[in-house]
Symmetry: D3
């Protein structure tokens, strides 16, 4: 089984070709993606053994989705099959002052109706060293929240490092609970938290003056948290962004310089590639600054690649991290 395990919903991504609007598109490009699975995919391309935990309908569409993760090199043997439907999202790619647009159709998905009891954590985590979750999962349904919590606790018990992308979309959380009801328990079992000061305030009610203050207070509330990480994006247009990142390790605040991304080919999944790069760095390098920079480089590179997942070699990311951004032809 895999060394890195991720959990989360995977959606069919249906994107308009080129820069077409939804009204114009007579065909849609199709891949299968989800924030946590994107992390697993990027890490698999760099040579890690990764597995993703999710649930798909037992249909040709569900099988095609699993097969797509396998194409990315992700172990799919822990995926459950059953339930009503595949989650879907529609993407229209913007340019210049027109932002990209996403329409979700994820309610009642097979993952949201997962039965946590079907997950065999002993098997899933047998060889795991890292477990990753995100705040969208507990927002989907009680079942998804339970599955996520189970995974975190099972990882905790086995001494596996846990990372969590504690971002929440207010338009989810429709099953009767809110982030404040659920996220504290999940965060309590997490070592590396990806969040900004606004998330920390909105979710945990922790008021702060600046990111470092928020990190310190978060650690006070959740002693297990050893690192808090955030990215800062300057959006000049849909085609031109700047990106940097911060990492609080309990003692000092590390930061990177801005990286310039112009033009952006596909903005979606940029945050997931950052997390993948960060996890790779923290697992592989003995240098947090380098890990943080690797995350930013991975994220920047993702913006030049179609689809949610970062398809790259480690060497490609490392070259960008070292400042080789001239884009010369490689022969």
């Amino acid at each position: 089984m895999a060394q890195i395990v991720t959990i989360g919903e995977v959606l069919m991504r249906l994107s308009t070709p080129g820069f077409s609007r939804f009204e114009q598109a007579r065909s849609l490009n199709v891949t299968y993606a989800g924030g946590e699975a994107n992390v697993a995919a990027a890490l698999a391309y760099w040579g890690h053994s990764t597995a993703h935990v999710t649930r798909f309908p037992d249909s040709p569409i569900g099988r095609a989705a699993a097969q797509y993760l396998h194409f990315h090199g992700v172990d799919i043997s822990s995926i459950l099959y059953g339930g009503p439907r595949m989650a879907v999202y529609f993407l229209e790619t913007g340019a210049a002052m027109r932002g990209s647009q996403i329409v979700y159709d994820r309610a009642g998905s097979s993952f949201a109706t997962i039965d946590p009891a079907e997950l065999n954590w002993d098997e899933i985590l047998k060889d795991a060293k890292w477990f990753h979750w995100a705040g969208i999962t507990p927002a989907l349904s009680q079942e998804a929240a339970d599955a996520c919590l189970q995974g975190i606790q099972a990882a905790r018990q086995r001494g596996i490092t846990v990372s969590g992308d504690i971002f929440y979309r207010s338009n989810l959380w429709k099953y009767g609970k809110g982030p404040a009801d659920v996220l504290p328990l999940l965060t309590a079992g997490t070592d590396v938290v990806i969040a900004n000061a606004e998330n920390i305030r909105d979710i945990f009610g922790i008021e702060s003056v600046g990111f470092q203050d928020a990190c310190i207070k978060l650690q006070q509330a959740f002693p297990q948290v050893s690192r808090v990480v955030d990215t800062k994006r300057t959006s000049l247009s849909a085609s031109h962004n700047l990106l940097r990142a911060y990492l609080w390790n309990g003692e000092t605040m590390l930061e990177t310089s801005d990286i310039d991304i112009n033009p952006i080919i596909d903005r979606v999944g940029g945050g997931d590639a950052f997390i993948a790069g960060l996890i790779h760095g923290l697992m592989t390098f003995d240098d947090e600054q380098k890990a943080l920079e690797f995350g930013v480089a991975a994220s920047a590179l993702k913006h030049t690649i179609e689809g949610d997942a970062l398809i790259s070699t480690e060497a490609e990311v490392e070259a960008i991290r070292q400042g080789e951004t001239s884009g010369r032809i490689k022969r």
Copy 2:
């Protein structure tokens, strides 16, 4: 407003290009279609004023769907907006011994959660002469069944001819009622019924010896029914079918000869095109046999056209009805 009004769910149709399997497709062709809307579209191409009643999510996807019906020439001013989601169906086109495959994802659609009270039948039926419904609508939800019944009764009161395609899929009907609970009331208000002997038995419990016997007994049970119509398809392969039709008018059984369809370009919507052709014939010709033949010709022609809807002129169908099937180039 329109002379012909149809009601029913419209789905986003996502079909694999060429003969690709779901696993292979990296893009999907997208149109918007539904059995009853297909009828309205075909009739609009022949010059009828037609309107479709349905409900779409208030999103870019919902607006794109409505716009697609408008592209077909169908009046969209009675469409409601709201509710959770667009119904979707996935289509993989077969060939030779491999049949086409459809995966539905329609549960909880905006149409299934329609509020019948929002429909203003006075406005919708102001200029109507024909109202068409199908057995799938009452199978979706109580709300959809109610909307359908309202429409039938409103049409009845205004002396509008009502046709119903009383076909049912056993894997629908999940809201607590079955066809026997709902369809009798709807059929009671219907003039032209499309059904075969098996449907009549399964839905109404009417046992019969052959189609004519079933028709006679159906009319005994539902005196409003003046005509019962059915098609018979001989499927030699996914690429080669024969098609014929029968019409019982209460007195005699009319039938057509087989029409040979080879190769089939797109099988879906063939039944809807038949109904459109039949309605056109019954409204326009003073000749039931000719109307029935026009329906079969329309259906055959549909099999050569991509998408659910029959895009054609009346003259094209009429030429086929008259036996001009040599497929010579028109200049």
Copy 3:
């Protein structure tokens, strides 16, 4: 019938895919567009009832063209059918220092050979509040010029506001008359004139020092003209433009700041979107400055959208007008 009526030739637009040159293209993308119809389409997407007056050949190509306008939401019931052919234009999209290239093939089109007597202005203008024409129409043929003049005069009589895009291409006007012969009479019936100082000098022989002086003198010559509007485009490259606009209302000269457009996805139709935005603003807002800014925002947004027509919601344009040009993802 529609509240906003436009008149003009609609051409089949055949554009090379991506950035292909004509020599390279083995397929061409096809839509149907024309300056005035583009105005009607953009306004229809913002919820206005609009109708376009033109003439198409009575062929599958002509019907496809009309259907395309219907797809955009434009009323097509006033379109005439007949005459020899569809006007066509070929488009090759440039980038960087290579400008886009247009080859017209419009001579002898069905619109250019329109019979003005076939147009029933009572019917066409029944509900109209605004009528829009452009200087290309009278340049095509005597018949087109007559139809345009009829429309302006019929609008004038009914108290309908008239706008005219008085731009002229010197390579048209091949039927024996020149702009100075025809445009004064048309301009005399026009309330809102889109033109720059060069147009005003070349067409009417009005010499001026700067745009404001030209506006004042134009109003002296044509007292019906209440507003004169112009845009100023700074073309840094085929992929990067700046755009601003000016409006003289008889008293003050309003102007907008530059909006930065980079990259440009499709430059064609940018001027038409400006006019649509301006008309929308003048009809809807009680604020000329806001109307002018809305026009510029609409034009800028058009540059990010494939095809001649601006497909957008009013809210999207308004957000850009208010300076939200960061292009962030909308979810």
Copy 4:
């Protein structure tokens, strides 16, 4: 210069992708083709030096057209540039009982307005052994008819064999003359005539009982004619045809057996490929029967190839001629 010279209009061919109807197509495939140029192209692929005489607009579109003929291997050094426009035809490909549909837009083309004085026949025919024309050319305009006649007479004077495809479309001939006014003089200079009994009656007023009788009477009227050739197509559907051919050599009537074509990929240009095959056979083989069969084989093969032109090797056609129609994979 070339050994085989053809003359005629070349049109931009815009065909809908797959089996799309005109209304559905959002892109059109583009090639450049014309009956006589198709003959030259097929012969070039078999190793003949061929040149085509025509006239294109002096525009990127005209240059792209010439370049496309060069792609086929046809000498383009005799092509004239100038005049108003490129002729165009639109093609919708049918299947089963739905025939393909062609819409022409060729009036006023650069070829139709050719100035025959610009053609330097000494140069064009310097190395020629065969000259080919078709009945569409004199139907387009007086200028085109004159150019065609000049070419025939110049060929006659130089002892070059002349073939003519005397088919006429009644919907051409709009410049004041009819086929009976023009075609006799052209036919008088022609050695090999492609025509059927109906053509011979309609054009020359020669009544006959069957094809052989028509041939005999045609030769009596036009002593230069040494061979009369015709094909017979049995159109079972747009996807399935049978094809055979007849050749009268003044003494005996040769004929081929039917060749079965199923499915048809692209029907257009099938007749031109037959003529190319016949010319190749008559120039290369010492066996009229074999030449006729080669023509039929070439025509059949063309039906399996996209576009108007037969792209093939001589060996491929010869194998079909010899009955190798099993379609086994060649490795």
Copy 5:
């Protein structure tokens, strides 16, 4: 590790879109395929654990090829990386009387230059129950022949069933040895031989009267061979084939009836799908006749699917085996 192991070259397959000829294609569809890998892929789709042994260049192209096998579900952990290049084959798809055409460019591939010593058979065959090879591998190079022989002998030692597709292309075998030098030793270790009487004569010099006689004599020469299998294809055209199969089990000759395939979507890989179906049947069913029929059904189904590999469920094949070839829509 996998239960079924295959060995052989995998080629980049570059096929023209639709029915385009090589000259016409401006894009080529790309997959990665090889006879033995196709067998592994088909079996993986039916739920078997399969692994393929081959060698790819250590380049993005080589990695893309491996990833494509992983997409099919095949274990790629035994693939070696290194050597000069990826083997390639170009495919042009025929129709009607025009056969498909394949051009190979495989000389000097990374697989042909494999170092057999790098293969760890203990690891590769750890869980294997079946090993499959084909006659193309020993034809490529001494190294490939050695690797193949090693695999057969390693399988033999472990009691693993071995199947071999003893077909040879005379235009391979360029490294100094011929089939008679190499194939006997490989065949000696093989249980299930796929071959026809011509192969058996040409390779082993065994003259026979009919297939059964050849089988008997082959078994006399190679006592390990327990079954000899062959298919018989009747090629009516490139679009229409009949297919049947024979199996000699040492005692009786089993055979299937013809299955009709019309139209053929993609002919390539049909033989490999047969072998996959046969292996599945022999491993799973206790019924040789059913296994043989399953092979023919799998092969027939492959002809309807784009690409070399049969992508299907076991149920789909089984339905065809049972005669359900009507191609009705599955919902």
Copy 6:
């Protein structure tokens, strides 16, 4: 025969669509290109008669390649056919900080195994005024080096100007010789050398301080060399470059200003377009500075065009040379 003759390998170029990575591409765009053939193509578009000397396999792929050069207007009558295979290169187009990536598969190509004795230089150079070669050719094989040397010497004897692009890739030169063994003799016969100081040092061992010093010393070593030319590219990203050029004519160092290229559509072939522009300028203008600027303008324009070859008119390049880089629409 042609006035400008080029020699060199032509490769099948297989490029991923859009910005896809190799792993993602399910189709590849295909053209045929090579540095020297690109020079011939660009010059042919400007009206020069050009011919290319190379060798292709005698297969449909080889014929398709020749036909593609013919499409560009290049004379292909001197191309040899035979040998093992077509050289191929795979291209993945980058953007922003991700550079494009090229994978070559050219070993053992038909050109690399050319027999120089088959080349008839009397015929090839009959009408030639300019002969162009590049440093890649002698790097491929002894045969290719010999063919190149023969061509240079044959040109020298006939007083034809010779240009050589003395760039070398260290990963070629695998046949036992190095650049220092071969290039001096080739350079000795060359008038116009394209090289930079690093090339001059690495190939000839000429150490220098700056480009001018290198030029002077190169001329001392090779008196035939009258001009040395180089370009300087500033790569800000894969999408944004600056380009300028230098020409040493033995007396003064000419240089151009930077031209800004943003965005880059296709970077490959930019250097070849520069050489084509330079040759055109030196042959046509009596102004070396203008020739150098024309080269830079041609190169810049190439970056906006898909494919290796610059498809343009002379007027388009000249407008850019004169500073018209605003990219306005041409109508």
